[in-house]
């Protein structure tokens, strides 16, 4: 894999984020902003823009890694319905905080990328669906949009080219599932954020039943630079199957957690050691989740891997959202998994049977093991349930819960044994053979219900 050291790589997406006033239009224009968009809108046809993005092999940065230009080309050309561009700024995958930097510190970069993308798919309306908790990013983005309207960069006559584009922000209300593109669109339509069965894909039948392209903030920000610096420049960075600059969010047990812009394909250990200052407190590395909690975990021995789509797939995990979660030797993996599983149990939208019931069931079993009433057969049960949740639901949240579960139980089985053994000797329920529920194990929801039923007494 490409071994590019930190100092040799020129940052583009986050080039200016540490500078004062980087979020203002004046700053952005002062550094060549909106020149690419103006050139594209004046000199290229929409079809040519799509071809260029296809040629660049830009892959989605939201999680699935789908080729961006290919997705755009699915939008029907001949249609009398309006088309929509939707920016996925819901950023809710645990361990992920890259879109936030882009929106808080360089909002015009995203607006410029969105203008080019909207032009490519011939859309005149762009929605930015932003995570509700990102209030600062929302204010900054909104200010930038207002500035852009005033300067004629958005609105009836974008950059004097006659192209029309309106851009509207919509804030989410704190649901992970509203990051899944069809769940996002349901939410944007004013409904519960429930994912929908694909096909039809959003590119054909999306927002309000019209052709819609959903792209991640980072993906669209990349588009700006593909047209600023050229397709060849973009392809020169990282592996050909998915090149370009990449933002990786390093969190967990490292000395310097944060968002780092790196060339695609950087070695994971280099990222942790050179950029993030290595594992903290001089401790040893135990494991890394490379792409948000939905990705399968890598043990320390497996971490010598390139951070790109193909290399990670070869290790049976994924680049996902780019959320790199580092765990040191003192991490209790049962606890870590319980934390992850509780998240998915809480965030499952509840439509599909395997996900609705499976996420909660897994969390209960894991919680039980953690609280000392686990049984040896629980481990096989967890793996079995996780496998049975995969590939059988409307969206992939079920898979996203199953992946960490299966991989952590498999790879750190001994830690689970230890917890179970520590709790062994507990009495069993004489009817079911199950462990007796211990204080603290009653689900939070049931406690809430009981409180409610008692009428607050």
């Amino acid at each position: 894999m490409a071994e590019i050291k930190q100092e040799k790589f020129e940052k583009v997406l986050t080039k200016y984020v540490d500078e004062d006033g980087s979020a203002t239009l004046e700053f952005y224009r002062g550094h060549g902003g909106y020149e690419a968009a103006e050139r594209v809108l004046k000199e290229m046809k929409p079809g040519e823009v799509i071809e260029a993005v296809k040629e660049s092999t830009l892959r989605g940065r939201g999680g699935a890694g789908f080729p961006c230009g290919v997705k755009w080309s699915f939008v029907p050309k001949e249609t009398d319905k309006p088309k929509y561009l939707v920016v996925n700024a819901d950023e809710s995958e645990p361990g992920t905080f890259k879109d936030r930097v882009l929106m808080e510190r360089d909002p015009h970069q995203l607006i410029e990328g969105s203008i080019i993308s909207a032009y490519a798919i011939e859309s005149h309306v762009c929605y930015i669906y932003i995570r509700g908790e990102y209030y600062d990013a929302f204010l900054t983005m909104q200010k930038a949009i207002d500035e852009a309207y005033e300067a004629g960069i958005l609105g009836e006559n974008v950059l004097g080219t006659g192209f029309r584009l309106d851009m509207t922000m919509h804030r989410g209300a704190g649901a992970y599932i509203c990051g899944e593109e069809t769940g996002l669109l349901s939410s944007l339509e004013g409904k519960r954020g429930l994912p929908k069965i694909k096909p039809p894909f959003p590119a054909v039948e999306g927002l309000f039943g019209c052709p819609t392209v959903v792209n991640n903030v980072e993906t669209l920000s990349c588009v700006t630079h593909i047209f600023d610096r050229g397709v060849d420049w973009f392809k020169s960075i990282g592996p050909p199957e998915g090149p370009g600059p990449k933002l990786l969010c390093v969190s967990g047990h490292v000395e310097r957690p944060g968002t780092y812009e790196v060339p695609m394909g950087i070695n994971l250990l280099d990222l942790v050691n050179d950029y993030a200052g290595g594992v903290w407190k001089k401790r040893k590395l135990k494991a890394i989740i490379p792409g948000g909690t939905s990705a399968k975990i890598l043990t320390a021995e497996e971490c010598d891997v390139g951070m790109d789509y193909e290399s990670l797939a070869a290790k049976d995990t994924m680049l996902g959202s780019g959320g790199v979660i580092v765990m040191d030797e003192k991490t209790n993996m049962v606890n870590a998994l319980y934390n992850i599983l509780r998240f998915y149990a809480h965030e499952s939208c509840g439509q599909c049977t395997p996900c609705r019931e499976g996420t909660g069931w897994l969390a209960k079993i894991c919680g039980r093991i953690l609280h000392g009433t686990g049984r040896m057969e629980d481990l096989d049960l967890m793996i079995d349930l996780a496998q049975k949740m995969c590939g059988r639901t409307i969206c992939v949240l079920a898979d996203a819960a199953a992946f960490p579960c299966e991989s952590i139980v498999r790879k750190f089985r001994l830690e689970f044994y230890a917890k179970i053994n520590a709790g062994a000797g507990h009495e069993r329920d004489i009817h079911t053979g199950g462990p007796l529920v211990q204080p603290g194990a009653l689900s939070a929801h049931n406690q809430e219900r009981l409180d409610e039923l008692r009428g607050g007494h």
Partner: protein
């Protein structure tokens, strides 16, 4: 799309031709294949959330839900491969993991999709040892109760309220395994079709208050019949236990009511055995219903002989069956009574209501108006009635037979006054009416659930009404009584079956020409000159 195109696919190795765009589950069900489901309902927009209908699509990476997968050319499907069966058994295990196994005290038991699918497709034993989720038990409105713990989040009820009733009271609340159906505070379930959610809930999560713990469904006698509350003639199933109608549920008929009925029809059966039901038999000196045919024949003949046939009048209702109308018509014809002396009394109009999904409640509350018109003529409701009343006022009416069998509605005063002026008055009475003079003779009328026959709905569809219960003691079948009377008069040889009666009638009544009882089946047939 222009012409309906077909595609060719393979299901379990067999070549199948199916209309393009049709969902796989329908194609499978049409071929008799058992593809189980929960959230799928042929009358609702599919959502594909329960995952019970997963089938294997050869070359597809994942099993696909048959309810939302349209058939395409060249597709190869395995509905019963190990992979497909496993996928479904796994879904069932998840489904049951939080389901309370309270079948012994659940009203749905015996007609529960979860029970049936578990027997047919599930695994034995359970691996769930953890605490199950608790969800509320509460009233949702309109007498519908929710047992949240039993809800499997299929959203059938939610989709019904939003897409068919159009009122959208129900929604899923909470997420994950806390998901459950609920109403918004202050906005209870209150649409006029609300009872359908109980019919379509695949489990015992939604139940009606009035039927609660009334019967084990497998003990009930179930009878396909037709609702008598408006001129739509929605198809229903009457469910009875120990000769009591315990509940009415919707029965599917694409040509009439799809899968739905309105609450009015669903919940109107209390009068059948209600406190107002008249059982009195008053035939001069006799209180024995067995004397009725002879009594009737004698008195009508006497009246006709003494005062002329023109002095006899009859008032029928538009809930009576075609057969009863036909027999009454032939009885009067036999006596020489002119056609205009037969009047019909209509039920008052109600509100016409059409719902989002196309379901309609007719403003005409007469289930067999079309039958009266077809057998006795269009003027029965109007000029015949006026004429007969005028005759009574002028004291030219000497004998009068009234059929007062409209549930919840008594005869207009004019007819009661007319009764006072005649020498011979007889009322077939469904519900007590204190205005009827002592001098009038009485016989109990039958309720629609107690008789076999046919009626014609407002679109001209002829449908069979079937007896769900035996006649209460002392009540005579009107059809049999009229036939026996005709036998007494020498006009018929003997009583015949309802089936024979229909076929005989079809040979005489132009609107029924060409129809045979055996062809009416469960769904009925469109009558001659019908609007379909």
């Amino acid at each position: 799309m222009t012409e309906k195109q077909t595609v060719n696919l393979k299901i379990n190795g067999e070549e199948v031709e199916a209309p393009a765009g049709e969902m796989l589950i329908k194609v499978c069900h049409d071929r008799g294949l058992d593809v189980p489901f929960f959230c799928y309902h042929p009358g609702l927009v599919p959502e594909g959330n329960c995952r019970m209908c997963l089938v294997e699509v050869v070359k597809a990476p994942k099993p696909m839900p048959a309810c939302t997968t349209p058939v395409t050319d060249g597709m190869e499907i395995e509905t019963h491969s190990e992979a497909a069966k496993d996928a479904r058994a796994d879904v069932l295990e998840f489904m049951l993991s939080n389901h309370p196994l309270d079948c012994p005290i659940c009203d749905k038991s015996g007609e529960c999709l979860l029970q049936d699918n578990s027997y047919d497709h599930g695994k034995d034993g359970s691996r769930m040892v953890d605490v199950k989720q608790l969800k509320p038990t509460k009233d949702l409105g309109n007498g519908v109760k929710l047992w949240g713990n039993r809800c499997i989040s299929c959203t059938r009820c939610v989709r019904f309220c939003s897409d068919i009733a159009g009122s959208g009271e129900l929604a899923m609340v909470n997420r994950g395994d806390s998901s459950v159906v609920d109403v918004f505070p202050g906005y209870p379930l209150q649409n006029p079709l609300s009872g359908n959610v109980v019919d379509i809930c695949p489990v015992g999560a939604l139940l009606t208050e009035v039927f609660l713990y009334q019967a084990r469904v497998w003990y009930e006698k179930k009878t396909a019949s037709v609702c008598h509350e408006c001129a739509r003639g929605c198809n229903i199933e009457l469910q009875a236990l120990n000769n009591e109608v315990k509940r009415i549920v919707a029965r599917h008929n694409d040509a009439v009511n799809d899968y739905w009925i309105c609450d009015h029809g669903r919940y109107t059966y209390d009068y059948i055995l209600g406190p107002e039901r008249s059982l009195e038999c008053r035939l001069g000196d006799s209180a024995n219903p067995a004397d009725a045919p002879g009594f009737l024949a004698r008195r009508l003949k006497k009246s006709a002989d003494e005062h002329g046939a023109d002095s006899l009048g009859v008032v029928v209702s538009a809930v009576m069956s075609n057969e009863a109308l036909y027999l009454l018509g032939s009885l009067l014809q036999e006596l020489g009574v002119p056609a205009e002396n037969i009047a019909a009394c209509a039920r008052d109009d109600g509100d016409e209501e059409t719902f989002k999904g196309g379901f309609r409640i007719s403003s005409d509350r007469n289930p067999n108006r079309r039958g009266v018109e077809a057998i006795l003529g269009k003027d029965a409701f109007s000029s015949h009635s006026d004429g007969l009343l005028k005759k009574a006022k002028a004291s030219k009416l000497r004998g009068l037979v009234l059929v007062s069998d409209l549930p919840g509605q008594r005869l207009p005063d004019g007819w009661i006054e007319a009764l006072e002026t005649v020498d011979f008055g007889l009322v077939f009475l469904l519900e007590n009416d204190s205005r009827i003079p002592e001098t009038a003779h009485l016989l109990p009328a039958t309720a629609f659930s107690e008789r076999d026959g046919s009626i014609i709905n407002e679109d001209g569809r002829v449908q069979l009404v079937r007896a769900a219960t035996q006649l209460p003691r002392g009540v005579l079948s009107l059809d049999e009584l009229l036939q026996d009377t005709l036998v007494e008069l020498g006009a018929r040889e003997s009583r015949i079956s309802p089936r024979g009666l229909f076929d005989e009638m079809a040979g005489v009544i132009p609107a029924l020409a060409g129809m045979r009882h055996g062809d009416l089946g469960e769904a009925g047939l469109s009558a001659q000159g019908g609007e379909e």
